[in-house]
Symmetry: C2
Subunit: 154 residues, 2 copies
DNA sequence: CTACTACATTTGTATCGACAACAATTGTAT
DNA sequence: ATACAATTGTTGTCGATACAAATGTAGTAG
């Protein structure tokens, strides 16, 4: 269904507005679905994202700044996001030795375990959401999104 | 720049995960930019979206439910979002005559005026964000996003 | 008419997030 | 060495948001 139908917009939009609208709408469609499957595990998409980032580091510690940089949606307050993960005992925080301004965040065994379990249903959900597109269409989509973000003013 | 580079992900992701990650990241990239240009006008993307929806109705009243349905990102509390627009005198709320459960929301002259002014800078921003893609690439992107959302289970 | 269900919005509450001020540490220039 | 700026993270505050319960209205079955 084209985006104007979905949002019941009467007149046809210029292609540039259509694309951005479609991108935002589809992005929300995806993140709502992810949030929905995460809900039973009592974890937010942001928290899940952080756990994945930490797992990707294979045990190596990570500063808040590094986490921030790698998050899908940048946050203004990573401290308190990580606090929630500490409360759940999914991560641990220690002061960094070499630079005492920094903190070292690492994922715990419990965090890895939880991540593994949650990833199963997220993977399923992700596969289902993309099953309308072939691999080459997905590649095409990736290429277009990358090109879109190539801002000459940056 | 490919998404793994941008988010510094070491291993190459399966195409399906790449696409969803890219979609979410690029969606945030767009909405952050829109929020940034709206900021000086002291209006949120959501509020701006509602004003555009109401303008699209050409003076015809709109219920909260209708607004909700047409919003890019669905909200759990449209009442209070509209309250903010009322406080700014951009919209007016009256009880619907034919069905007193509903409320009629209409955009005011002041709201239309503000929307017109704000739209100028938003249009510019939108044009700039998409200037890396040709019209046919934008059409292609739209088609892929539409196809992605074609969920067989809905 | 009454009871019951569905609908549309509002309100209460608890959490989340943005933003700015603050604190601690490190780097740098004189 | 001292002063100043930059980096990194934390905390306070306030507005935004999600979610559930409540309110008021409409439709419907008996």
């Amino acid at each position: 269904m084209i985006i104007e139908e979905t949002l019941k917009i009467s007149k046809r939009l210029p292609e540039c507005k259509r694309a951005l609208l479609n991108l935002l709408y589809t992005g929300n469609w995806v993140s709502d679905e992810i949030a929905r499957v995460l809900k039973p595990f009592d974890i937010t998409p942001q928290q899940f994202n952080v756990l994945r980032i930490l797992k990707g580091r294979q045990g190596e510690a990570c500063s808040l700044q590094t986490i921030q940089d790698r998050m899908i949606s940048k946050m203004s307050n990573t401290t308190r996001l990580v606090d929630k993960l500490i409360k759940k005992e999914f991560v641990e925080r220690t002061q960094c030795e070499s630079n005492r301004r920094k903190v070292d965040i690492v994922i715990t065994a419990k965090g890895l375990e939880a991540l593994k379990e949650i990833s199963r249903v997220v993977d399923q959900s992700e596969a289902r959401m993309t099953d309308q597109l072939t691999t080459s269409e997905l590649e095409n989509l990736n290429a277009l999104l990358n090109k879109l973000r190539t801002d000459t003013y940056e």
